[in-house]
Amino acid sequence: MAGPSIDALGQFRLTTGLGPVGASVNFTNSNEAMLGAAVIIVALFAVGLRAGAIVPGRVQALVEILYEFIRSMCLDTIGEDGMRFFPLVFTLFTFILLGNMIGLFPYFFAFTSHIAVTLTLAMFVFVFTTGVGFYTHGFKFLKFFVPPGVPGWLLPLLVPIEIISYLSRPVSLSIRLFANMTAGHVMWEVFAGFMILLTASLGVFGIIAAIIPLGLNVALVALELLVAGLQAYVFAILTCLYLHDAVHMH
């Protein structure tokens, strides 16, 4: 292909961060973004909750809205003992949300666009919910795979289906987040690449025509902001649903 071409996946390449010290311990730009997300969350809460005012200021109101949002999600989805799992769900939600949002800025790295990261989070949720199920119900938790009210001759067919659908949970959970973030960033790259291709091939007319992909990219930023919040929400609420399954068995 002649002229400039679009390198859509180059933005996800890992490089070393934090200079020579980071290079010696394989500290990558992905780790930098993770550390940044964690520091931002802790700093936000330290600043927001320092005053503890009855009439909250802006930062305190933001922190309280976040807290209330996840609290009601836990209580509505898991049940009345959902507050036991509140710290886990809250940590997952804020970490993924901040990770998605950091990735929206130019020159920053979206660590949730790597399957290694999302699969780690999803496997943790999967192992944890299974552990909660066995801890709460003992080996009676295996009855989870036997749907109630089903005629006996159907069971040899249904139990494997239930087990497969249970085992596919971490796969769907991780691929959903990873694919959403990757697709968004690839779309940006492709439309930004159109601008370069247009200006390189059509001259002045190309520069004028490049306004169209630029405008589309601006609209995509808004869409990606929605997706960033939505995917964090979906990850958190699916964690809640799995925990509900583990605690209440259907």
């Binding site: 769907s172 691929i175 959903r176 959403n180 990757t182 697709a183 939505l230 995917q231 929400y233």
Partner: protein, 78 residues
Amino acid sequence: MDPAQTALLAKDIGGGLATIGVAGAGVGIGNLFGAFVSAVGRNPAARDTMFRDVLLGFALTEAVALYALVIALIILFT
């Protein structure tokens, strides 16, 4: 045409075919919001509570489209 070029061509065709799966997600998202609009028409007061579920359904449906995209990327870039 030599085999290497044929393989590249087949890769591009395969990547294009893999994106057909997005059509299903289009039907799904259309269904979802169509049902949402008609539900809001019947009961406008329940809009806010329904919209949260719609967003969840939208994210789940959109993810199906992205599975197709992942397959296309795997075909194209590996």
